[in-house]
């Protein structure tokens, strides 16, 4: 066995290696640190316990997503986009499918539109549950963590009944969805939403007015509206500063235009506001899911379009045209006309945009993801600098950086 050399080259070059002030020290936090979820490296200059400045590095989870996309057919990318934000994989699926559908000029069926909206909101809840639970656990609120993760596990198991997987579902399809909702699934959804009301209320009761929690979260990691927009923050982080910017309201897609919901905002853009905005968004999502369950009518979930939808299995076995159609869709991929499109959804963390270039044919020329976590990492130092070393953990946690979509 040959061992790696004794000294390895440093994969990063920190922006600074000397302190600005007398007596300050440079501390390297991460990329493998028990309290940072995700492999992130923060090089911090400390003066005592105070953070003077930080240099945030990401990329340890880079796996060449965009390069890989250029050699697979349009449908084969769906499992890859699942792995961008793995806390709310369905939102990625639907955002990607919608971008391709725009290029192909496909309008999805009403049932598919409602189901996608419902599942997107359900995923948003799972994502916010994860973020809030982890943030609370890092502050020592183990009970609140267990309450939230209990609910999240109900959601995961329930989505596994629908899609066959707990985390990465690959459930979207260009022009529709992978399958119909199983019997009894919506009844169970109602039960889970009711349980969620109970558990989320308990968490409100445990932490909202808890002195320790407030002292750690209030006035820490403060962002102003202008600063947040300048640094590209979107989603709950931008809304926590008080700007009611939400793509579901501003540029409505799927079925959001028909739904009644509010956009919760914070008052000063600190950690407490980010916690509270996420908790309130879960309330709104539950409200939306209940409306969508009432609107869901029976009907087809896939468009009847031979360019993207696989033919019925019994016809594949009995007709040569359907057999050829099936073969072509699998081997060559759906034929997407040349063009380019930028299509964005309001993902759990902010604006998730897909910029897709097609030159015709079954394989994309380019797929670029504008992922909220990556852009947030470019501005997160504004929330860390000037606060205490211990504040890095809750502030960083409140951004909910997801390595899968940040590093791609």
């Amino acid at each position: 066995m040959n061992r790696p050399p004794a000294s390895l080259p440093n994969p990063i070059r920190p922006a600074f290696d000397k302190g600005q002030t007398e007596g300050s020290v440079i501390v390297n936090i991460g990329p493998s640190h028990p309290a940072t979820h995700g492999t992130i490296q923060i090089v911090a200059e400390l003066s005592g316990e105070r953070v003077v400045r930080t240099d945030v590095h990401c990329g340890y989870l880079h796996r060449g997503f965009e390069k890989e996309c250029e050699s697979h057919t349009w449908h084969n990318l769906i499992p890859y986009v699942d792995r961008l934000n793995y806390c709310s994989a369905l939102i990625n699926d639907f955002a990607y499918c919608e971008a391709v559908e725009k290029l192909m000029g496909i309008e999805i069926t009403p049932r598919c539109r409602y189901l996608r909206t419902l599942l997107a909101e359900y995923s948003r809840i799972a994502d916010h549950l994860t973020c809030v639970a982890a943030a609370l656990m890092e502050l020592g609120a183990m009970t609140a963590f267990l309450y939230l993760v209990t609910i999240r596990d109900y959601v995961y198991e329930h989505l596994a009944d629908l899609t066959g997987a707990r985390v990465t579902y690959s459930y979207g399809r260009i022009g529709g969805l992978a399958g119909e909702v199983p019997e009894g699934w919506l009844e169970r959804l109602e039960e889970i939403l009711d349980e969620m009301d109970t558990f989320v209320d308990r968490v409100h009761g445990l932490v909202d007015r808890n002195r320790i929690f407030i002292d750690r979260m209030r006035n820490v990691g403060v962002l102003s509206v202008d600063e947040a927009i300048n640094w590209g923050f979107t989603g709950p982080v931008l809304r926590s500063t008080g700007a009611p910017r939400d793509l579901r309201k501003d540029t409505p897609y799927l079925a959001y235009e028909e739904l009644d919901f509010e956009v919760p905002v914070g008052i000063k853009g600190d950690n407490y506001d980010r916690y509270y905005v996420r908790m309130r968004e879960m309330d709104e999502s539950r409200h939306m899911i209940r409306q969508l369950m009432d609107r869901l009518e029976p009907g087809p979930i896939n468009v009847d379009d031979r360019r993207c939808t696989l033919p019925e299995k019994d016809r594949v076995y009995t007709e040569i045209e359907s057999l050829i159609n099936h073969f072509k869709l699998i081997m060559e991929g759906p034929q997407v006309p040349p063009g380019e499109v930028y299509s964005a959804h309001e993902a759990a963390n902010g604006e998730l945009g897909f910029y897709i270039v097609s030159v015709g044919g079954g394989v994309p020329w380019k797929v670029h993801v504008r992922s909220p976590s990556f852009v947030h990492m470019g501005g997160v130092h504004r929330m860390l600098d000037g606060y205490q070393l211990a504040d890095i953990i809750p502030s960083f946690g409140s951004v909910n950086m997801i390595g899968g979509e940040c590093d791609r």
Binding site: M1, I12, W231, Y342, G353, Y355, D407
Partner: protein, 162 residues
Amino acid sequence: MSNADDIFDRVRGGLAAKTLESTVEHGVLAIVVEPAEVAEVAGTLKATFGFDMFLDVTAVDWPDREPRFDVVHHFYSTTDRVRVRVKTRVTAADPSVDTLVPLYGSARYMERECHEMYGIRFRGNDDLRPLLLYEGFVGHPLRKDYPKHQEQPLVPYRKDAS
């Protein structure tokens, strides 16, 4: 949607002198400008038309075309809720455009990614260190001529124990 069309018309009118092409594609106004004009056009978009959020910058490689690269910027207006795409074409010999860091803080990180992936140089951005890749990485992996399976491990792979 007519609201968006009005805004697009105003933007097109305001930038007509600098625009080579402009179209509305899938709800986004796409304008093509000369590489030297990018920073000025972005400045006008921000100051005059309220495009206060810088969404994204990336490049598209067309190996058989001259100039070889498209550098693609996306902007969003949080007041008018519309997006604009600003595209420019740069050559492989001199793949450089002006940085947008003085206008948007978020450009700093995104330009770093575009620089390492495509080798686009952003004049004026003083921090183009590798970000998703590592120090010493050779080449620009998202260029079409970079082989997908090429490996550059920092730590040598372990050989079989035998």
